[in-house]
């Protein structure tokens, strides 16, 4: 039975948790005993003497602190170097966090209460700094926190002196996490490439090739150009080649990914446009403003959550999807009922009237929300990304937009192909008079499809708010591209719209690096104009008789 299995699982999970908890407590106790009984007292003593005016004493104390290897010392030592370490009249030392005035305990970092008075800054000179920095680096490289070790490795890489390299080399041997190891290997390889020892250089070249990062390109170029040893010159050139071709490949993959995510937005914008254009033969110039309304609805939902449901803010996006859809659907239905329906059969006038509507919508949004862009935040679960290779990160928000667009396209396809409403829509698209004779309420279909088209654009607005700027003129920037998708994809064909938006999105992003965004747009436009020479009905023309 599923329930018993579930309970069994829970029970097992509970056991695991208990074991873990005990393990934690034991580890914690050991830690406390070690640091408290053996280390903390002398450490604090040593820290106190850092305030000593005698620099020999300070030096000795620094060496003791380094030997302790305790990561809790890092903030205090950092404070010492930045002249943020303060000493009280009783000799106790405290530090303040950067840009703060409150005193903190040197080892625990907790704010001391009550705040001791009469503290003064611990004098620090460059000699002490020079001695403290390697100690600090050593402590950081051995810190239990991965991020601290990573940052320290990168910092030392930037410093690039013999002392830093020596510290790195010894830490590298004990490092376990691959990410940090790679960062350390990079720094070591950079150093060794600059050395004059051929053996070291060859070993470093192998590492550089294995890492494949472009940050070593400068050193490799110098090595490939000016080294007496021909074999090293050749190996460096080869490594450089490797890295560059890898970089090109990664750039291409990145462009493809960006193209697909742009295509998803275009798809969401153009889907509704294609459906209404196919059905009614009118171009809705206010369609871009539906994107804008959807994005602003997302913003409004975010504000509402911040004010009334602050605990659930990270889930505001889930609520924004239906809210934006319904809001824009309603706007679309209203638009159809009040304006569009009186202009059927006059497509050019519809174009002008809907342009007028878009002006009104833009101005209204400007008056309510201001002319500036508003800040729509990514929820934390959409922050970050998957690093699929060194230097190529696929951000979660863009992945989510792609998945969302696919889901909407599938839903629209199901609606058009598998429901009664979809059947009627297709019938009206093919032959309005005949469909009407067969008893289909064509006017009602028009209204709902117009609303649905606007609603899909509203969903596009939600997606857009996660990867782009949200401002009153947002719709204007996407509308022309989505018109081009409709022109290219043909009217009323879902497959055409999908292929056209993918094509336009990807071509745009591929042209951008070497042609620039503008020239890319012009090339795409020229391509479209030439394309409709051959296939005036778009990629997937409806077969059979189409009204001219």
């Amino acid at each position: 039975m599923p329930t018993s299995v579930g309970i069994g699982n829970f029970r097992r999970l509970g056991e695991v948790l208990t074991v873990l908890r005990i393990a934690f407590i034991v580890a914690g106790l050991v830690g406390v005993i070690r640091s408290d009984a053996n280390a903390a007292e002398p450490l604090e003593e040593s820290l106190r003497e850092l305030a000593s005016p005698d620099s020999d004493v300070v030096e000795r104390r620094l060496n003791e602190l380094a030997a302790s290897g305790n990561a809790a010392l890092i903030p205090a030592l950092e404070a010492l170097c930045d002249a943020r370490l303060r000493v009280a009249p009783d000799g106790a030392v405290y530090y303040t966090a950067p840009k703060e005035r409150t005193l903190r305990h040197p080892l625990t970092g907790t704010i001391v209460d009550p705040q001791p008075s009469g503290t003064h800054e611990v004098e620090v000179n460059n000699q002490i700094r020079r001695q403290a920095l390697p100690v600090l680096a050593e402590l950081k490289l051995r810190s239990p926190a991965e991020a601290v070790r990573m940052a320290a490795a990168q910092e030392l890489d930037g410093r690039g002196d013999a002392e830093s390299v020596a510290i790195l080399r010894s830490a590298f041997k004990d490092e376990q996490v691959k990410r940090v190891r790679d960062a350390m290997a990079l720094a070591l390889a950079r150093w060794d490439l600059q050395s004059t020892d051929p053996e070291r250089q060859i070993a470093a070249l192998a590492i550089a090739r294995a890492l494949g990062t472009s940050s070593l390109k400068g050193e490799l170029k110098r090595l490939a150009g000016a080294t007496p040893d021909a074999s090293i010159r050749k190996a460096a050139a080869q490594a450089l080649d490797d890295i560059e071709s890898r970089q090109h490949f990664l750039d291409a993959v990145g462009a493809l990914f960006h193209g697909i995510s742009l295509a998803s937005i275009l798809l969401l914008a153009a889907l509704g446009l294609a459906v209404t254009f196919g059905l009614l033969g009118v171009i809705n110039m206010a369609h871009g403003e539906m994107l804008m309304l959807g994005a602003y609805a997302t913003y409004a939902v975010q504000m509402a959550f911040e004010r009334w449901l602050p605990g659930l803010v990270r889930y505001y996006l889930l609520a924004a999807v239906p809210v934006s859809f319904l809001a824009t659907l309603l706007a679309g239905v209203l638009l159809e009922k009040t304006v569009i329906r009186f202009l059927y059969g006059r497509p050019l006038e519809t174009l002008l009237a809907t342009w007028g509507i878009s002006l009104g919508l833009i101005q209204t949004v400007r008056l309510i929300f201001g002319a500036q862009n508003v800040a729509v935040a990514n929820p934390d679960w959409l922050g970050g990304g998957i690093e699929i290779a060194n230097g190529l990160v696929l951000p979660y928000n863009r992945l989510a937009v792609i998945a969302f667009a696919v889901a909407v396209a599938v839903a629209v396809w199901l609606l058009l192909q598998r429901t009664r409403l979809g059947l009627q829509v297709r019938a009206v698209t093919q032959n309005r008079a005949m469909a009407s004779c067969l008893g289909i309420a064509t006017r009602r279909i028009d209204m709902w499809m117009f609303g649905l088209g606007s609603g899909i654009a509203g969903l596009g607005g939600v997606a857009l708010s996660q990867i782009g700027n949200v401002g009153p003129e947002l719709g204007q920037t996407y509308i022309i591209d989505s018109f081009m998708v409709v022109v290219l994809g043909g009217v009323g064909r879902l497959a055409g719209t999908i292929v056209a938006s993918l094509g336009l999105g990807v071509i745009n992003k591929f042209l951008e690096p070497f042609a620039g965004a503008v020239l890319g747009k012009i090339v795409v436009l020229a391509f479209i104009i030439l394309f409709i020479q051959r296939r005036p009905q778009g990629i997937f023309a409806i077969k059979g008789r189409v009204e001219a």
Binding site: I283, L352, W355, G356, G360, Q363, Q476, F483, L525, I532
Partner: protein
């Protein structure tokens, strides 16, 4: 010979209408300049100097409205690309104005200021020849005309029409705007071309030069109107109207509709470019914002308000809307977009034939 000319003139307009045109021409080209140039500034009927370039600008817009009406009203093609032709004509004139003041810019260089700023050493090839006024004027008309011809050839050949044509022309204009925004395109980027000093040796800041430009614009409008009227009342014009109303039937009767549309499209673009060339010295600046999709659509609303297919109506529409715009953007800045938006909706819903259509209906009812 004289009798035939008279006959043709009467085909274009009734005698009463000609009298009306004469009256309008007298007011625009004689009385207004006289009131500015001759009457003392203290006189109540004096036209203040600052209004002259504004009225001159309106005359240029009227030429644009004529060009739009010619293809929309008589060929049924709604272009959203006339802002491009207008701006290209303006840029050609602007380039001449920049060249004519070589060495007098902020940097005292032979190159225009923005090129010095970009650290360019030589003039790009497409700026050559613009030192000469006749060349610049010819380029202002022929360049955009050629662009229109090539674009139109491909578009009409593949039977792009209706809203398809509108949005493709809009995309063309948009792409051109992006191009002109680029500094590297060599047209001054964002700021465009401005700070002009003189045209053919006359200072552009002198009131007499401004009055002169106003009169030239008025004359151009008059000739454009007569030319357009001539075209639409000729046999060519009637075929064009036939194509507008039933393209397939016209084709079956043996008229190659592509050629007719291509000619009128190119003519309209060139006319629009001429208006742009006259506009730039009067407003003293040309920049890529003239190519915004919204400016082209505003041109369409002048025609829609005035009344498509009437030639005189769109001129009136252009004047009314621009007068309203000048007043509203100064008096109630945030209301202007609402007013314009409402105008788009109300005119298409309730005045499908525009002001001209409404007047015609009223007079018909009375008679």
């Amino acid at each position: 010979m004289f009798a035939r000319a008279r006959q043709r003139l009467l085909e274009m307009h009734s005698a009463r209408a000609w009298l009306g045109i004469l009256a309008a021409t007298t007011v625009i080209l004689l009385l207004l300049p006289l009131s500015n140039g001759v009457l003392a500034p203290s006189s109540a009927l004096h036209l203040p100097d600052y209004l002259v370039p504004l009225l001159g600008k309106f005359l240029c817009f009227a030429i644009v409205a004529l060009a739009m009406d010619l293809i929309w009203g008589f060929a049924g093609i709604l272009s959203l690309g006339h802002g491009l032709f207008f701006a290209l004509g303006g840029y050609a004139m602007g380039m001449h104005l920049m060249r004519s003041m070589a060495g007098e810019g902020v940097y005292r260089s032979a190159l225009p200021d923005f090129m010095v700023f970009l650290d360019w050493k030589t003039l790009p090839w497409y700026w050559r020849g613009f030192d000469s006024f006749p060349f610049a004027l010819a380029a202002a008309v022929v360049g955009p005309g050629l662009l229109a011809m090539v674009f139109g050839y491909f578009a009409f050949r593949s039977k792009i029409k209706g809203v398809y044509f509108s949005i493709v022309t809009q995309a063309l204009t948009y792409a051109a705007m992006l191009l002109f925004f680029q500094n590297s395109a060599g047209f001054g980027g964002n700021n465009g071309l401005t700070d002009f000093k003189r045209l053919l040796g006359f200072s552009l800041h002198a009131p007499t030069t401004r009055l002169g430009l106003y009169v030239v614009s008025g004359l151009t409008l008059l000739f454009s109107y007569v030319a357009c009227r001539y075209i639409v009342t000729s046999k060519f014009g009637r075929v064009l109207t036939a194509i507008r109303d039933a393209e397939l039937k016209a084709r079956f009767c043996g008229y190659e509709s592509t050629h007719y549309k291509l000619f009128v499209w190119t003519f309209s673009a060139a006319l629009c470019a001429l208006a742009g060339a006259l506009y730039v010295p009067q407003v003293g600046i040309i920049n890529p914002s003239e190519m915004q999709p919204s400016s082209s659509i505003e041109m369409a609303i002048w025609v829609a308000v005035g009344g498509r297919g009437s030639l005189a109506g769109p001129i009136l529409g252009a004047w009314l809307i621009n007068a309203g715009k000048s007043w509203l953007t100064a008096a109630f800045p945030s209301a202007w977009l609402y007013a314009l938006g409402a105008l788009f909706i109300l005119v298409t819903l309730f005045l499908p034939q525009g002001i001209a259509g409404a007047i015609a209906r009223l007079t018909r009812r009375r008679s």
